[in-house]
């Protein structure tokens, strides 16, 4: 869907004023205005998700690293926008692609502003996901380097496969708004980053050969909650905006349906994450419930257009359960330190959403031959994205580790990245009990 509409739009710009919208009942001038309003407003909302990510990450980590987290979020967007303009967009949607990688239209030579604007905020979302999993111990310079590559190369290439008319889209893989393209890609990069970095000091304590898992509490749950509400708000732009237009025949119905499935999945994600944590740990956990809402949102991102509200309820509920189990598994069994649960929310629930397209999707809308076939293609897409990112992001982090270094020293980590990396304190004047 995304791809088809985008191609039409790109063609419209390249060939205009040819009569692209001939079959369209809306007159072309009103149509382009409708599309532009829709995409710019939705793009703005997706941009605003940067604030949401920043607040969630700040809230779920310690006060002494808050400034560093802000910088990472600000800079992955800023550096990412520059790179996506220079090469990313070209690699993803460039007209001279070969199914594996796009080419052409670098520096947005085509002037397709409206689509670039909507796409750049997606690229930035993928980039920013990683920040949370690598929080509280990553060298700032290394993070800048990473940002260049994820927005400039890694994300655009797998994006090309799915949304740029590449080989996965040819196979019928469907990812309406990016469970795989954006969230899984971000989530798997986060996973590789967290593994290669290693855990924060004091997170996994070895004692008599046995590893004890320690909790490192987030310092500001109200900000984390604000972040989740902002993300949810922005997600209406993310999902509903992925119709990529408001003027094609049936657009109104599509936009509204997506808003509904998105709402229900997020709500159910929150509810079921709460109950799962309640059952497992005897209390309804605040940060897990917040993660649950995000899990529901990530889960519905791919299938939001092809499933019914009833299926959205199920997809959200499963995502809510999944995210809690996954957070605990990654922490307690795999001992991978992901302070905000980015891998579980974006990686794991991204895969779940991708598969849910096959499991619950309307086969007519998907143009699929059979449910089994569609599930297979979806699984293939999810696996390919995983492989692609695991290898490239893994290599990237390893190279950075060997050269510039990926991690601050232990002393810096204990004192806090704000002081050592940025020479500042985020909460000057507040008394903060240091031994946490």
């Amino acid at each position: 869907m995304k791809k088809r509409l985008l191609l039409i739009a790109v063609l419209a710009v390249l060939l205009s004023p040819a009569m692209i919208f001939a079959e369209d009942v809306v007159d072309p001038s009103a149509a382009s205005a409708l599309d532009a309003i829709w995409l710019i407003v939705c793009g703005g909302l997706v941009f605003f998700m940067q604030a949401g990510f920043a607040m969630v990450e700040v809230g779920l980590t310690r006060a002494k690293n808050a400034g560093n987290i802000i910088m990472k979020n600000l800079m992955d967007f800023s550096v990412g926008a520059l790179l996506y303009w220079a090469i990313g967009w070209g690699l993803m949607y460039g007209p001279n692609g070969n199914g594996f990688i796009g080419s052409g239209d670098f520096f947005l030579a085509s002037g397709d502003h409206v689509n670039w604007f909507f796409q750049v905020v997606f690229a930035a979302t993928a980039a920013t996901i990683v920040s949370g999993a690598m929080a509280e111990r990553t060298k700032f310079t290394s993070y800048l380097i990473y940002s260049v590559f994820i927005s400039g190369v890694i994300y655009p290439i797998s994006g090309h496969w799915i949304w740029g008319g590449g080989w996965l889209s040819e196979l019928g893989f469907h990812d309406f708004a990016g469970s795989t393209v954006v969230h899984s890609v971000g989530g798997w990069a986060a996973l590789m980053g967290a593994i290669i970095l290693g855990p924060r000091v004091g997170k996994y304590v070895k004692k008599d050969g046995k590893i004890t898992v320690k909790a490192i509490l987030g310092h500001n749950l109200p900000l984390a909650a604000l972040g989740v509400f902002i993300l949810w708000f922005g997600w209406y732009g993310f999902n509903a905006g992925s119709t990529l237009g408001a003027s094609y025949d049936g657009a109104a119905l599509d936009m509204a349906k997506v808003a509904v499935t998105t709402t229900l999945a997020a709500a159910l994600g929150a509810v079921f994450a709460m109950f799962t944590s309640w059952v497992m740990n005897h209390k309804p956990d605040v940060s897990m419930s917040l993660n649950g809402a995000l899990a529901g949102l990530v889960g519905i991102t791919a299938p939001c257009w092809v499933v019914s509200p009833g299926s959205a309820v199920i997809i959200g509920a499963v995502a809510g359960i999944l995210v809690v189990l996954s957070v605990e598994f990654i922490d307690k069994v795999l001992h991978i330190d992901d302070p905000v649960g980015a891998v579980s929310v974006h990686g794991v629930c991204g895969v779940w959403g991708t598969l849910a397209v096959g499991i619950f999707g309307d086969l007519d809308l998907l143009g699929a031959s059979s449910r089994g076939a569609q599930i297979g293609v979806q699984a293939l897409g999810a696996a390919s994205a995983f492989l692609w990112v695991a290898v490239t992001a893994g290599l990237l982090f390893l190279i950075v580790k060997k050269t510039v270094g990926l991690r601050v020293t232990e002393v810096e980590e204990l004192r806090g990245l704000d002081i050592d990396e940025h020479g500042t304190e985020s909460y000057s004047g507040f008394q903060i009990f240091q031994n946490v």
Binding site: H282, S287, V324, V327, F433
Partner: protein, 113 residues
């Protein structure tokens, strides 16, 4: 002159203050503290991981008094702070050798009140 240091439950501060006022002890200093006594703390969970909280929040009171006031100050604190539960707190009495009022430079017993 003695320095009376007391650790009490935070929610008892108001009643301790009231009892002190009744005894005409008006001057006190209060700080936040974390304490570990017979009260053993409790367990929270955060994101599925147990957190042992064995440093509990306490309020620390410092009162400098003349020796003749020591007993009634202690009694007032006990009246205000006692609930009969573990965690009620503790009082320490230390000697003070000198006391000076910064505003006037006044020294000794006269400067305390």
């Amino acid at each position: 002159m003695k320095l009376i240091i007391a650790y009490i439950q935070p929610d008892r501060l108001n009643s301790v203050k009231q009892e002190l006022y009744k005894e005409e002890v008006y001057k006190i200093s209060v700080t936040n503290a974390m304490g570990c006594g017979q009260q053993m703390g409790y367990t929270e969970t955060y994101r599925g991981v147990e957190v042992e909280v064995n440093l509990l929040k306490k309020v620390r009171i410092e009162i400098a008094v003349n020796s003749s006031f020591v007993d009634k100050t202690i009694e007032a604190i006990i009246r205000g702070a006692r609930s009969g539960e573990i965690g009620d707190g503790k009082i320490f009495v230390l000697p003070i050798e000198e006391c000076i009022r910064i505003r006037s430079g006044e020294k000794g017993e006269g400067a305390i009140g």
